[in-house]
Amino acid sequence: MRHYVIIGSGPGGIAACEAIRRHDASGEIVVIGDEPYGYYSRPGLAYLLTGEISEKNLFPFSQEDYRHLGSKFLHGRANRIQPADHTVIVQNHTTHPVVYDRLLIATGSTAMRISNPGCELEGVVKLDNLDDARRIIKLARKAKTALVVGGGITALEIVEGLVSRGVKVHYFLRGDRYWSNVLDETESRVIEERLVDEGVHIHFHTELAEIIGNRGRVAGVKTTKGEMLKCDLVAVAIGVRPRKELAEASGLKTDRGVVVNDALQTSDADIFAAGDVAQVYDPLTGKSILDTLWAPARDQGYVAGLNMAGQTTFFHKEPAFNVTRLACLTTTIIGAVGRGDDPDLLGIARGDSETFRQLPDAIAAQSNFDVNRLRVLVGTSTLIGGIVMGDQTLSKAIQVIVANRVDITPIRQHLLTPGVPLGDLIADFWTRWKTTDASKQS
């Protein structure tokens, strides 16, 4: 009987269990997790904050599902892997190291902390896990005013959660607009206007210097320009970093994340890595990159699980693709859409992917329909990225066109003509392509 050990109970870990069980009915699967809750929807925390779902809705799997998977959950932190004798030492279980034949590291990523004076005060929060969400909800009951600092999707999730709980929200942005390395200026403005309509006070060119406490609790903040703001909650979302310490301490090859080959194998042949912690080769850019997205984590976990069960499979990285809700506006981000660095993010933001920021020789073509907005990045003969806000009719089409590097030469000039009805043009092209070229491919 083979022993499979999976460190991490996110979508990567759970997908690996499913893949293993599909090919190995009798092997033992142990999932080690340092949160007591096991597998839950981390992106769903945003909707727990807004009150759209209750806590029990966060858990996609029932007890029956776990029985069906036949996996055992072990609550504890994996402290060290000993590749030579194939064991994992788990905190609080140190006398009984867990034995593995194949191991998966799917430890995910963790929120970066601020180091400003006062960052240890009660009332300084992040949104990384269920405990954090609970803390925010509890504090929001008494809080009157909150400050949110940071960028990307998580910052807005906190902003909207607090707004929906009746807390007055101030939002500090270091630069002159929101998420400047992924959104273009108009898109940033659309989001900012919607936030202002919801009653959020956005402070541009404003940076947190110090959090001021009173009896150990947040009482206010001071900006780098010396301005003071009274508040009783400070939420920080300045990006995440891969949790690679375990792999490092165990002598595995790491770079920004845990380095894996296209079978998601680390430098040790019996140890695999998947999800936010894995640094995966991207054939589109020729670089090996990090993602902090749900779908790649699940796909990578599944491929790693297949390989662990002896079914040799390679992971093919798709162009980055994410859907999110920004200020109540459904937004799909596909491939490369932005450039440069966002001063509000130190690392990579959740729901972001590094390929979103790689802008080769491309020109943006765009089309406005009030809040429905479409932007595509036109390369020399292909679309290399797109962003769809509001109406999502075309997001699948753009995703397929980008992923398949469809030759868009017939419409390239039209796409770049100012004022062209971009949506219609792409819809027509997509329909023609589906009925002709797509069938040739399949």
């Binding site: 945003a46 779902i53 966060l58 858990f59 859907v323 809700r325 459904t330 819809a427 589906k434």
Partner: protein, 107 residues
């Protein structure tokens, strides 16, 4: 009265879609938040269908559209199935019907 005609046509399309369609997920967009399952008035676990990438072929489904409308990430959509024309129930037919409904939605 082109405006009224348009409205009637839209309404007709909407009803046709509701009667002849399933709720179909795009698994790649889904993050398993559970809003769909939470809002289903008859308790179908729509989220599980989205995880597996399967259409909601539950006979109890009212095609009320609550899950489709509330999904924050646009995972769910109605897709025609040609349920009432079984001879056309093939993959290509399904694909074309889906395309058709996409176009209808778009215009």
């Amino acid at each position: 009265m082109p405006a009224l005609k348009n409205i009637l046509k839209q309404e007709n399309t909407r009803r046709e879609v509701l009667v002849t369609s399933y709720v179909v997920p795009d698994a790649a967009r889904c993050v398993q938040c559970g809003i769909c399952s939470f809002n289903c008035p008859i308790g179908i676990d729509v989220r599980r269908h989205a995880w597996r990438g399967e259409p909601v072929k539950d006979s109890r489904c009212l095609t009320c559209g609550e899950c489709v409308a509330r999904c924050p990430r646009g995972v769910l959509r109605f897709e025609r199935t040609n349920l009432f024309e079984p001879e056309k129930l093939d993959f290509r037919g399904l694909l074309e019907a889906a395309q058709q409904s996409l176009l209808v939605e778009h215009h």
